[in-house]
Symmetry: C2
Subunit: 337 residues, 2 copies
Amino acid sequence: MTTIRDVAKLAGVAPITVSRAINNSDYVSIGTRVRVEKAIDELGYIPNELGVSLRSKQTMTLAVVITDITNPFWTTVTRGIEDVAQANNYSTILCNTDESEDKQEQYLQMLLRRRIDGILLVPASNNPAPIKLIKKQNVPVVLMDRQVPDVDVDVVRSDTEEGAYLITTHLLSLGHQEIAMLAGPQSVSTSVDRVNGYRRALRDAGLPKSAENIFLGEFTQETGYTMAELMLVKDSSRITALVAANNFIAIGAMQLLSEKKVRVPEDVAIVTVDDLPPALTITPFFTVATQSALEMGKQATQLLLDRVSGKTDIPCQEIILPVEMIIRASSGEKLSP
Amino acid sequence: MTTIRDVAKLAGVAPITVSRAINNSDYVSIGTRVRVEKAIDELGYIPNELGVSLRSKQTMTLAVVITDITNPFWTTVTRGIEDVAQANNYSTILCNTDESEDKQEQYLQMLLRRRIDGILLVPASNNPAPIKLIKKQNVPVVLMDRQVPDVDVDVVRSDTEEGAYLITTHLLSLGHQEIAMLAGPQSVSTSVDRVNGYRRALRDAGLPKSAENIFLGEFTQETGYTMAELMLVKDSSRITALVAANNFIAIGAMQLLSEKKVRVPEDVAIVTVDDLPPALTITPFFTVATQSALEMGKQATQLLLDRVSGKTDIPCQEIILPVEMIIRASSGEKLSP
DNA sequence: GCATATCATGTTACGCGTACCATAATAGCA
DNA sequence: TGCTATTATGGTACGCGTAACATGATATGC
């Protein structure tokens, strides 16, 4: 592999002169510049960023740590991140934790060793230790989507409690009284928030606490399926609608209902938080509370870049993005009284 | 940021001794080891990989350059890559080119500057120049999914020509005579292969060349929609089935047909290459020729790691993975004669 | 004609971890 | 007892690009 010294030798100049020619960082005569460029071409020289980073103490790289790369929601967030990062000459490293704390820990260690300039993190759990570790190393970090207790840190998230509230209220307004909630893990703040939004909606509708029907699972199609199964067994005669805590849970539940010949929305109405992107759905079907994934990625990255470029004095922020309800077929018509 | 020298000073030893204690690379007495570990803990020392990489001339990083991060097919390939890479202590950098040659060029430059150890590339076009550039830098590269002419390089791909042949033949066996092909860009080998498979099937069925109905677009839902629209305009009365070159095209076509009240499969049957993952579909509907995305990722990574670890003498390989046809509702029943 | 600004290039050293070589103490063995 | 092997630790230099400082040449200003 050729180095800047090889180029310098061939061009008959000092290495620093080559460096200046490449980076336009100082005066270089036209003649020298031409000779240097010729030498670079001839040798196929590509500068070694490792040397640059070691010296400059910055890698121009942001890390993106998400929990599920197969969920279109996260890939869209990633797009937003990439757009803003690229526009600011930063590259991104994408890491997928599969909601595993162990994997997250491993990735964070790796990222800190590589001296990435900042981290966009979707925490796999509500354990503050990993975030404290990052902060101890003075590496800027912005959480996305989920809060974590006991740590002062920037967060960009959606008003997911409100989202769950909106779609639950929508079901109530259609006349449903027995509404199940198929939730995600309770170690994740968004899941807790969505349960809370569901609860608040029931409370505001004057329903007693006993009206709550909450099932706890993961943010996956598999547990969506299982929870729907449990739901049918437990309260087959009564439940007329369900709130899914995310898109995968909704799909899993839908699969089970379809297998059991339970009609949606005639027998059981479904609403969910998180939409599916148009490229993956033939006809949008679910009534959803959508969040702008792209916007989440963009805002989080902008905030992170502010921190990276030294704005460490301003206190930690919590940016809460609005949600929007889109009413579609899955929630059905108004029930006859 | 603390360095190995800080740790050494605190532990009262030489930096190299700390290095040895960390890496277990040489003799270190128990007493010293304990003191070093205490110092590391106290200072929260995390080794700087940049120094290590600069010295060892390897970054333990593989680059993954894919063309569409929102397509589940590629995220699944990425999973396979990550599995194998991780098992071999390699990290991955994921780059998304959006099928753009420019973006690809930019990413490759960045990756080469970072001295990543190898590249898994889904080429955005059939231009051999970028691959030649990589090879000139002696960086191992394995192409995935797509071939590129005029360059000697390892490739792992599916037998996609056969896939298109199988599903087209399936349509023919159901009695269809007028079958359209909604293809991808002709600058991509898989797209060409799929058209060829379609053609071979028609030929083998004894149909004349005039029976071919080929529409060229992109691998996107948008152009799938547009091509289906063109198809209806052009041959509304005759075409009874269509072959989509990938899953997104199939979805786009399906959307158009559904809007135009054209029933699938009763009026027009649809088959496609590339399945959608179960987590994203409520009921699998499309008859497909599937390839194992996970397997593609794994095999490509294994091959790349072989090259990275010095197996450069064996000639370039082309690994062709088998495809499998899964018959579902979208292709419909046998036509009455 | 001399001081100062501008232009052009070079030397040295640094960032951080470790390969290589050197040193020294102890242990094992003939 | 003398000699080699094992254990333990350190010094120096290197990988690669560039910051900081230095030097010299030419141009500008008075």
